[in-house]
Amino acid sequence: MERRIGVYICHCGSNIAGTVDCEKVTEFARGLDSVVVARDYKYMCSDPGQNLIKDDIKEHGLNRVVVASCSPRMHEPTFRHACQDAGLNQYLFEMANIREHCSWVHEDKGMATEKAKALVNAAVRRVYYHEPLETKEVPVNPNVLVVGGGIAGIQAALEVADSGHQVYLVEKDPSIGGHMAMFDKTFPTLDCAACILTPKMTTIGQHPYIQLMTCSEVEDVSGYVGNFKVKIRKRAKYIDEDKCTGCGQCQELCPISVPSEFDCGLGKRKAIYIPFPYAVPNKAVIDPVKCSHLKGLAEGKDVCRICEKGIEKKGLPGCEADAIDFKQKDEIVEVEVGNIIVATGFQQFDPSVIYQYGYGRYDNVFTGLEFERMSNASGPTNGEVLLADGRKPESIAILHCVGSRDENYHKYCSRVCCMYSLKYSHLLREKVPEAAAYQLYIDMRCAGSGYEEFYERLQEEGVNFVRGRAGEITNIAERPEEEGKLIVICEDTLVRRKRRIPVDMVIMSCALEPRADADQIAKTFSLSRKADGFFLEKHPKLDPVATMTDGVFVVGCCQSPKDIPDTVAQASAAACRALAMISKGKVEIEAAIAVVDEELCAGCKICVDLCPYKAISFDEEKKVSHINEAVCKGCGVCVAACPSGAISGRHFTTEQIMAEIEGVLV
């Protein structure tokens, strides 16, 4: 059948026309084989631009279309639809990227124009071999998996579940709540974190549409958008959750006490414990690493079990609900979901690597999270701000940007530190009113609703703001007033003088950084990571919650450091994206996939092991490979590998790619 190709060169205002001579390129295109019409226009993506194409398809009976403009990652869908509207199969369209790959990156008009010609030529040669393809639609499984039980995961899970769809919420810790549960107050409104979080947590616990799995982690994800299969490992808690009433008797009895993760090691917990008072689920778990009975079992000994049996001579009963089960094993749960929301959060930067700040060497240097616990009424000090020796501090310095905005650690700004540092000053004022508080900042970044106002309020409250980053913290006194103090050495860059500020306590506003296991998580859900280590969103501005993997969304601090309002907004956004797909009920799957020509297939099975998605099976009767269209993602690895050339990758056929290679080389 005769090829009738239409070519359209976009000026993109001056974005392209400024560097590429569009008229010349159009002229060149007109002369190409099988091109029946070639035009240039100011904005091809505009309605009039698209109409040009539609009209030509009808008038000139075009059966192939090429648009030379921006990146296909930007507007390919736009023009594909335009073709479809005019009754042309969307796969008979090809795009030449003469903006991102040409006009924006070159200065020499002449050479840029030549390159543009080559790219257009390549597109024309390629489109010549394009074949119409039919996109398939598959039903979307309405269940949703949410990974991570911090405020991000909680919000997303509730949004989805409230719409009446099943949610599986997976949390690696014994309780949901994440970092927010550890906070005391939240900026700028200063409402207590627990007060606004616990209602949501309890709802999660009771929600008919939410299956909560704590002490659990996702081990494997297979399948594709709309139809994922997920393997989840539920670690043994050695507690029968249905029986445990959360009475707490067991943790009273347990003789083993260890530093509490929830209290950042400032407080203690037992080997059998309920993580914190308002934990959800409010049930005990046993820490197999610390529990002396479980450790004993490993060596074939039967020791302790006080939590189970109680202490007779003291008349203390053991677990009356008979919920303790030392024989419990890990179990693997498999669920099927259509969408996945990843909300795995962040971890706090460990300041001990900044030797000169002395964290870990000086008792009274604390991290932000430690201070949160200290000032929390249910925390290790019952909400009192105390020095290591139990005294009340008379002066406190708060250091901004510890590990943030620093080439040696994290280049990025962690976005929330300025604000929570201000919050700390306020808490200090409440709890140790007579103490002097210093804020050592580089820049105050208070962008957010009510944030600048909060800054002003703190200025009124009499905080000492010092514009300068601490160079080091020492305990070597040079003046009498420095004896027994920690001396923060900095430049007060506004008075241009080096200052030594003696204080009793130092609080470090540490960076938010990607979790240590972020790499593993990325692999499990096939996510990409940014240079800073956080998960990469599909588009930084226009698609901030989707990822390159359809059906997988990222929300909260695993995507980038952000505050609670932003996190909640993002979580709702992701839930909405998932629900949109669910309510549509079906999803188009890539038509550009690989197919086997059974005539040519020699049955060597090379492709079978190569496929990263296990989409290829071997038909033992016919002795040929078979590709599952729904599972194939069209990467083409098998196509390149097939020795007998029996596999072809639709829309990326060898013929098409060869033609394109030839084309760019005019």
Partner: protein, 290 residues
Amino acid sequence: MRYYTYFPGCSSSEGGAKAYGWSAKAVSKALDVELIELDDWNCCGSTPYSSVEELASFCLSARNLAMAEKRGLDLVTPCSSCYVILNRTNSHLKEYPQLKAKVDEAMAAGGLEYHGTVRVRHLLDVFVNDIGYDEINSKVKINLGGLKVAPYYGCQMVRPRPSFDHPEFPQSLDKLVASLGGEPVPFPLKSRCCGGSLIISEEALALELIAKIFDSALSNGAECLITPCPLCQTNLDAYQRRVNQKFKTNFNLPVLFFTQLMGVAFGLSDEDLGLKTCIVPAERVLAKYL
């Protein structure tokens, strides 16, 4: 036997730190390390040159590096200042092409070229990383048990990055002392500045810094200090009396080169170590090991 090209630097050859040169050679011998001195080397230029005539300073180092390159061995120096300057030349020539062009041109005038392949090492680096603590320990004849030593690293051996040890909390000397049986004392100021060459032009400042260093060492129970830097040694040793005069203190802390202490532990003879050149006599604290 391990072989290295040796760059003693001015102080450790004919200068004030002769003893450093002697002990370095002697200890190396004991450790089967052959230091082959670079023929006809010239002063590295040190800080003054790079401060006043940058290009010339790079040329000074480049000449030495070019001559060392012909040998194809690592270039080892006991002097922290030479170490930092030679390394700086290496990295700058890589980083700044326009600078390299000029240096090449200047070098050509002397009939030399440098291709940037020489690895510059500090003697301490060679001892602790190439030879290793166990090997060193195995050579100990007189265990320094009970000797409380403050390891003073100074600045330029550990800074700027990258160096073979932590820029603010170095460990190599501490471990070395331990491997000799001695007791490294905690020493917060172990890598703080002693005033360096400014002792000549800004004496007041330098004396202040030195006093702080002695304070920190003494308050942590040190009986003596060791250092891998000729300039530090001179400042801490020769100016100790001026410090005492100025601040009405009575510090009496011997300041040894780490190679001298190693020599003592290895049971080497005094003329190999030149302990007599210490202005604050070292015999007092070392008596029971000599």
